[in-house]
């Protein structure tokens, strides 16, 4: 009896969580324009999606910003994690706290704060400002995923490499970098995922007609719900799901930190 209760409770929870997405996905294949009446299977909205210039341009910006921002934040985060791993005591705790704060900070606050800063400094809102914003919010996640790798890396490992005849540069390339690489890759994937699914911060930090996919969906939705939006949202959902799956698989293999998982889910 209690087993049955447990199972049905779990079922209810998952229904509650995934029913909206299921509806979204199902109606993205609907033949008619209606988002409430099913009138047959069709891929026409997906086809239309790839003929819409606005959406293709948003896709380009989304991918360009995700790629560039995750590359830059991976490099920055890795160096920061190295610095943090060398720190000791109370100051390290302080810096880690400073690092974690933006993760917990509401996106809306981060977004408006960045916008105010850009306006204050007279920077024109557009591609560059959105890129900088994405680097800003991704870097702490990279730090969190690379830091444990530096912790695992005993200082003896570097000594051992030098002892066996490796110059410091050779030891860095052949020992240190490969040992922390799993954390770096997880950090990169995480930054990439976060960038793709961000809406709030992007919304406040872009301008001049530069929109990413989530902003594009938002402005389309304001003009009325079209099945095209369903199709686009479905594709984004699947992309993020796939990336998340890869990250979690890596985390299970001990390739990085598991912590920000919940937050990534919440952001979706």
């Amino acid at each position: 009896m209690s087993r049955w209760l447990q199972k049905s409770y779990l079922f209810l929870i998952f229904t509650f969580l995934y029913a909206p997405i299921a509806v979204l996905i199902v109606f993205s294949f609907n033949d008619s324009k209606s988002t409430s009446n099913w009138s047959g299977f069709s891929l026409r909205w997906y086809a239309e999606l790839f003929q819409d210039d606005k959406i293709l341009s948003a896709l380009y910006y989304t991918l360009a910003i995700a790629l560039i921002s995750s590359l830059i934040s991976t490099v920055m985060g890795t160096f920061a994690a190295f610095g943090l791993s060398q720190m000791r005591g109370r100051f390290k705790g302080f810096v880690l706290g400073v690092n974690n704060l933006p993760i917990l900070n509401p996106d809306i606050v981060t977004g408006i704060a960045l916008m105010s800063l850009f306006v204050f400094t007279g920077t024109r809102l557009g591609f560059m400002t959105m890129l900088m914003a994405h680097i800003t919010f991704s870097t702490p996640y990279v730090i969190l995923s690379v830091l444990p790798k530096f912790k695992q890396l005993s200082s003896e490992m570097l000594d051992a490499a030098l002892d066996l005849g490796a110059t410091p540069w050779y030891a860095f390339r052949k020992v240190i970098l490969p040992e922390i690489m799993p954390g770096i890759i997880t950090g990169f994937l995480m930054a990439f995922t976060l960038s793709i699914d961000d809406f709030v911060i992007s919304f406040f930090t872009t301008g001049g007609g530069v929109s990413n996919l989530s902003i594009e969906i938002y402005s389309m939705a304001r003009r009325g719900i079209k099945p095209e939006i369903n199709a686009l949202s479905t594709l984004m959902f699947l992309t993020v799901l796939l990336l998340l799956f890869v990250i979690n698989r890596r985390s299970e293999k001990g390739a990085g930190v598991v912590l920000p998982k919940t937050d990534t889910l919440e952001r979706m």
């Binding site: 005993s154 003896e156 000594d159 005849g165 052949k174």
Partner: protein, 361 residues
């Protein structure tokens, strides 16, 4: 082969290594023994090139090496926690040093195979580091160092993380390897038994200073001071007075002994090993007391005997039950007499010379 001259290492305010000098001969198994924080690992790291001495010099075959970076020193190190490269398989771990030297691929294969044979892990080439037990990882660390054919191998508590049985096995294996390959070993440990078992010579360190240098027999039988006596095995340490040459007074009695050259009525420390004390019938022997506790230790019984309120530790294969009266017999060659040291741990210099003299004799 290696000569260490007046080596000093200061970390902040702390003189971790405080003016030590010693030499290690070719093919010798030299152990640096001491409690944690005594400076033994720092000394080893200075020889390996991972720490720069504050003062002093290290000579290798007569040439100073303190300016030589670790990757150009003719020594290799076995680290406490093995420090294997987890992103490489066993073959590549062992081949690491050879690849740096751009050794021919066939030569690498041949030498790695030979090393795996030496450490009894043939067939492990493709295995991941994480799939190996602690003992196996340690063997790989040894193979990884030895494949470079170093003239001197430095070992920093290499068996510390292993369980007792495995540690004993590895002690023997290391000793055989050292003798077979004819490599000089400098071995750091806090385990006095390990040091006594494996070494040709032992350097006992405490608070950054050498307390005594000598063969295991020297160190055990003729400890240079109270610290060494206490650190190497268990011992009874009793204050005494030299009445005249060959006569020492302690525990209220005067005993014949083998020591001379002290001034009359000079205060001394007397060391008597628990296994050197003979249990005899009450009335026989110069001391007599009551057994306070008796513990079975496997090979022997460990008994605490109270003599006029002082506890004496006695090891014997015979059991004297608790509360029974016993006599203690101590013969002259069981009595080791040492100069009184106000603060034994800092009283390095005179004993060091005594120790060195004993070694060269």
């Amino acid at each position: 082969m290696i000569q260490v001259n007046h080596l000093v290492k200061v970390f902040g305010e702390d003189r971790v290594v405080d003016d030590i000098s010693f030499h290690v001969d070719s093919r010798e198994f030299m152990t640096i023994l001491g409690p944690s924080g005594c400076g033994k690992t720092t000394t080893l790291r200075m020889i390996g090139g991972f720490e720069t001495p504050t003062q002093g010099d290290i000579l290798f075959e007569g040439k100073s090496i303190i300016q030589v970076p670790p990757y150009e020193r003719p020594v290799n190190t076995i680290f406490q926690r093995y420090a294997l490269f987890t992103h490489l398989n066993i073959f590549e771990n062992i081949a690491f040093g050879l690849r740096i030297k751009k050794t021919d691929e066939n030569e690498i294969k041949r030498r790695v195979a030979r090393m795996l044979e030496l450490v009894n892990l043939t067939g492990f080439e493709k295995r991941a580091v994480s799939s190996l037990s602690g003992g196996q990882q340690q063997r790989i660390a040894i193979a990884r160092a030895l494949v470079n054919e170093p003239k001197v191998l430095l070992l920093d508590e290499p068996l510390g993380a292993l369980d007792l049985k495995l540690r004993k096995e590895m002690q023997l294996e290391l000793k055989y390897m050292q003798q077979d390959l004819g490599i000089t070993f400098i071995y750091v440990t806090h385990d006095q038994e390990e040091a006594l078992t494996m070494s040709n010579r032992i350097i006992v360190m405490n608070h950054g200073r050498i307390q005594q240098t000598g063969t295991p027999q020297d160190i055990y039988n003729e400890p240079a001071n109270a610290f060494v006596a206490d650190f190497i095995g268990e011992s009874n340490l009793i204050p005494g007075v030299m009445k005249e040459d060959y006569w020492v007074e302690f525990a209220g009695r005067t005993f014949p002994c083998l020591d001379a050259g002290f001034s009359q009525n000079e205060s001394v420390d007397v060391v008597i090993r628990p296994e050197d004390i003979d249990l005899v019938a009450p009335g026989e022997g110069l001391l007599h007391g009551v057994v306070d506790s008796a513990l079975f230790k496997g090979v022997h019984y460990e008994m605490v005997v109270l003599v006029d309120g002082r506890e004496w530790l006695v090891h014997s294969t015979d059991l004297a039950p608790e509360d029974s009266e016993v006599g203690l017999r101590i013969t002259p060659d069981d009595i080791h007499i040492m100069k009184k040291s106000a603060a034994p741990v800092h009283e390095g210099a005179p004993f060091k010379e005594a120790g060195e003299a004993a070694v060269h004799a």
